[in-house]
Symmetry: C2
Subunit: 211 residues, 2 copies
């Protein structure tokens, strides 16, 4: 470690993790970089180089032990960290995220859901009751969440983010259609700009049709 690993590599790790899980489920014990490359569509060279950023998990003439590699990548990703997480905005998307993600398996623990609409207060989502946004600050003071998921309109996103940073939030998973400008620059922002993703796809459809 010590040496920082490039973003491109990091973004591939969850994908490796997924494929290795799949292999484990199918009872496969060992795999070579070449076999994995065929399954995943990367080059074998890239796979070896990626894994090697974190140390030599493989063995010449053998390949990689699937479950060992899976465990190692899980450890690197921090899937057992259980970071306390809150979700702001319990509209359609917020509720979907709250119920659809397997937070526990991904290093998070969802401990609070908030919405500005008073009518939603006490409505259950998963096994949590929605709280009014008024309660965010006191909740943070008591429970010290680390991650916040923003599923709110872009108009209010920046303001709420600033408040949350003041109360100790270290990272945002941002579904709002805007780019946050964190006041302090050690804050982590992971954008899930679904609109951008959709538009990229439309571009590609369009580009493929006019040759």
């Amino acid at each position: 470690m010590g040496n920082t690993v490039s973003t491109s590599v990091i973004r591939r790790l969850p994908r490796y993790y997924r494929f290795l899980q799949e292999l484990m489920n199918n009872g496969i014990i060992r795999i070579s970089s070449r076999e994995l490359s065929e399954k995943m569509g990367f080059t074998a060279s890239q796979i070896r180089q990626d894994f090697n950023c974190f140390g030599g998990f493989g063995q010449q003439g053998y390949g990689y032990n699937v479950s060992e590699l899976h465990a190692e990548i899980g450890k690197i990703l921090g899937v057992d960290k259980g970071y306390k997480t809150i979700l702001i905005g319990a509209g359609n998307l917020g509720r979907a995220i709250a119920t659809h993600m397997n937070f526990d398996a991904r290093g998070c623990k969802l401990i609070g859901i908030f919405d500005v609409n008073p009518e939603l207060a006490n409505v259950e989502v998963g096994n949590l009751k929605i709280m009014h946004t008024d309660k965010i600050e006191s909740f943070c003071n008591e429970n010290s969440p680390v991650i916040a998921i923003l599923c709110i309109p872009k108009e209010s996103a920046q303001e709420i983010a600033d408040t949350l940073v003041k109360h100790g939030i270290k990272a945002f998973w941002n579904f709002s259609h805007c780019d946050l400008k964190p006041t302090f620059n050690d804050i982590i922002v992971e954008n899930a700009h679904l609109g951008d993703s959709l538009m990229t796809m439309v571009y590609n459809v369009n580009a493929s049709s006019d040759n």
Copy 2:
């Protein structure tokens, strides 16, 4: 055109589009690459080079006309194409996507929603009624959708994708936690792997805390 533009550039276009929209809403008429770079956090050089992939939209000593540039990028992205789109899987996530995305403004037109659960048949989502997945094939034959959004469990994703390709679907927006292997390789797949995104963020939180 003609010359293919790199993926990195394409993925930035929706972001430019968003920022330019914002500027328009604020009544700003012109902007230089330097000003835009300060707002967006790219370098001015990159912005000029990006725009220039598609032709010279700017003018020396002046900069870019905001609404003209916005329109040009919109045209490049194909926001007016209205590609017929269907959504498979009307669970929490599917319903959120159906109602939360502004498809019309992004080059898509949502014309059908399907779910395997018969109890959901005829339930309204947005202004569409959920149909049973049995009806997908006949619906495709009648309406010729181009894009399919997959919000279904990974177990059934590949099978449904294959069926859809046979019925003329050209592109997938894939929310299933798996990587599709399209039988034909001119099919476009845009993955929205939310789980991967979350795990990347957790990695970063973890990495930032152990210095």
